[in-house]
């Protein structure tokens, strides 16, 4: 199957400020792809280029097999965009918003399409109220429902859960998963690592206008030292002794209270070696636990490295 999106050497600058400095990635059809980056990393700029809103200064991008500049009209037939802020019409009712998009996409029966989506997104009761009266979560749901009209094969979601409460956020995650199960390609941007971890089949990490890492959540987590063990000691003396003992050979991080996190290397032998060193020095921790690497660790490691290069 052809990839849903390919991006090669994409560059964009606003005046003299380079936002994208050569971005490359590929999104396979029917998968959820998360573009991860902090505020101002250039995520929205990439979405704007891929959805034909702005043109890049250099490089190429295809969406649904079509070039975003040369065949923008074809691209628009395959995509829908849900922007960072719910782009819904406040003066219309929920139903009218859906029917408007249905009419513009020339679906056979916009009234019926609107009705089905209102029920699917739990908005039937509020259907004939003006959107001004909707809560943030309801606006988001309506926004997504509007994006599904005309069954686009690739859906762009720009920070879909920013500003949502935990419950609404969970609902959104379920919606995104259901979409992907039905074969739709989902391209989402997020600044939340747990969101990318929870949803995405593939994650690309955007930092200072470049992709600094790409892969599955598991692959990315391998980029940070594994086999980290967190020890808690009974008293300060023991903790200091442990630091003196281990700091030459291991990467250690002193935590709050009496805790110490040690990167042992990952294999069973290496973890066992760490414990033996402690036992031989007659240091007995009160407690220990294994630390699973999170995307946060990956993110901080990769982004702090990049800063040092500068």
């Amino acid at each position: 199957m052809k990839p849903a999106i390919t991006v090669r050497e994409l560059k964009k600058a606003y005046k003299k400020n380079a936002v994208l400095k050569g971005v490359d990635f590929t999104v396979e059809s029917g998968t959820i792809f998360a573009l991860l980056g902090s505020n101002g990393a250039g995520k929205t700029t990439i979405i704007n280029i891929l959805t034909t809103l702005i043109e890049a200064d250099g490089g190429t991008a295809t969406v649904g097999g079509f070039d975003v500049v040369k065949s923008s009209a074809k691209v628009r037939q395959h995509i829908s965009l849900t922007g960072q802020f719910a782009a819904v019409d406040d003066m219309l009712t929920g139903r009218e918003n859906l029917e408007l998009i249905g009419d513009l996409r020339h679906v056979k029966d916009s009234a019926q399409t609107a009705k089905a989506l209102l029920s699917k997104f739990n908005l039937t009761d509020a259907a004939d109220r003006r959107v001004t009266t909707f809560s943030g979560g309801m606006r988001r749901r309506l926004d997504i429902a509007m994006s599904l009209i005309g069954t686009p094969s690739i859906i762009f979601l720009d920070e879909p859960t920013t500003g949502l409460d935990p419950e609404a956020r969970n609902d959104m995650w379920q919606t995104i998963k259901t979409l992907a199960q039905s074969g739709t390609t989902v391209f989402l941007t997020t600044q939340y690592l747990d969101e990318a971890d929870e949803l995405a089949d593939s994650i690309a990490l955007l930092h200072h206008g470049k992709i600094v890492a790409q892969g599955t959540a598991a692959e990315l987590k391998k980029l940070v030292p594994g086999g980290r063990v967190k020890f808690t000691f009974h008293e300060e003396g023991q903790l200091k002794a442990a630091i003196t003992l281990l700091e030459k050979d291991y990467e250690i991080t002193k935590g709050d209270d009496l805790t110490l996190t040690v990167a042992s290397g990952g294999s069973t032998t290496q973890v066992a070696g760490l414990f033996i060193r402690l036992r031989d020095a007659k240091l007995e921790p009160a407690d220990f636990s294994q630390q699973v690497p999170t995307l946060d660790d990956v993110f901080f490691k990769l982004t702090s490295n990049k800063k040092e290069e500068k």
């Binding site: 809103l53 702005i54 922007g83 719910a86 819904v88 003066m91 009419d103």
Partner: protein, 257 residues
Amino acid sequence: MRALKDTWTMAKRSLRHIVRSPDTIITVLISPIALLLMFVYVLGGALGRQTGSVSYVDFITPGIIIMTVVSGIAYAAFRLNNDIQKGIINRFRTMPVASSSILSGQAMSSTLSNLFSSLLVLAVAFAIGFRTSAGLVEWLLFAGLLALFTLATTWMAIFFGLQAKSAEGAGSFSYILMFLIFISPSFVPTTSMTPLLRGFADNQPFTPIIETMRSLLTTGTAGDKVWLAFGWCVGILVVMYALAIRQYKRKTIVANS
């Protein structure tokens, strides 16, 4: 065909906005009607001596109607800019919608609603003594000129609506048009102005439009400036349409975030 259908869908949406915000309709109507009453009843006694055989209410009604249109189109700029700020225009631009229909829908709804407002103002003028000797042909010419003027200035509003940084600032261009209405033969004949001002007033685009409208309604003749009046309207329309489309296609309209 598709573009026409999309234009109508867009115009319907925009008309719903207008009907659902009665406060904007009132704001559009209130200042021209108040000015009409003030000029006729407060200043009319003094100014009416300048207008010769034409009664003062007959004299100023065309200018008041032009003023109604100018205050109405400011809201078209406001609405368009508001759609940009809220990301609604961007949503449309990523859809397979004929791109001309997004702007043309606004132009259509603005023209229709402003013609309706003009009709209401005309009704008030009739109620306070406005009388006309225009026949059917003159009325049709008057309506045609008014519609063309509204369409042309609406495209001006669309251009400024696309350019403005905020919805609140989008309508400010209409102050310049208001200024053009005052420095024209709308309220007093230009012969009573200082020579410098008169030179400007006699040659600016609103003058032939207002004089032709007045001539059609009061004497029932088109007058000698009818071609100039239509010419200015077509010229403004063509230039503003081209500018608006160019601005739209620059693809730099991104909502503030």
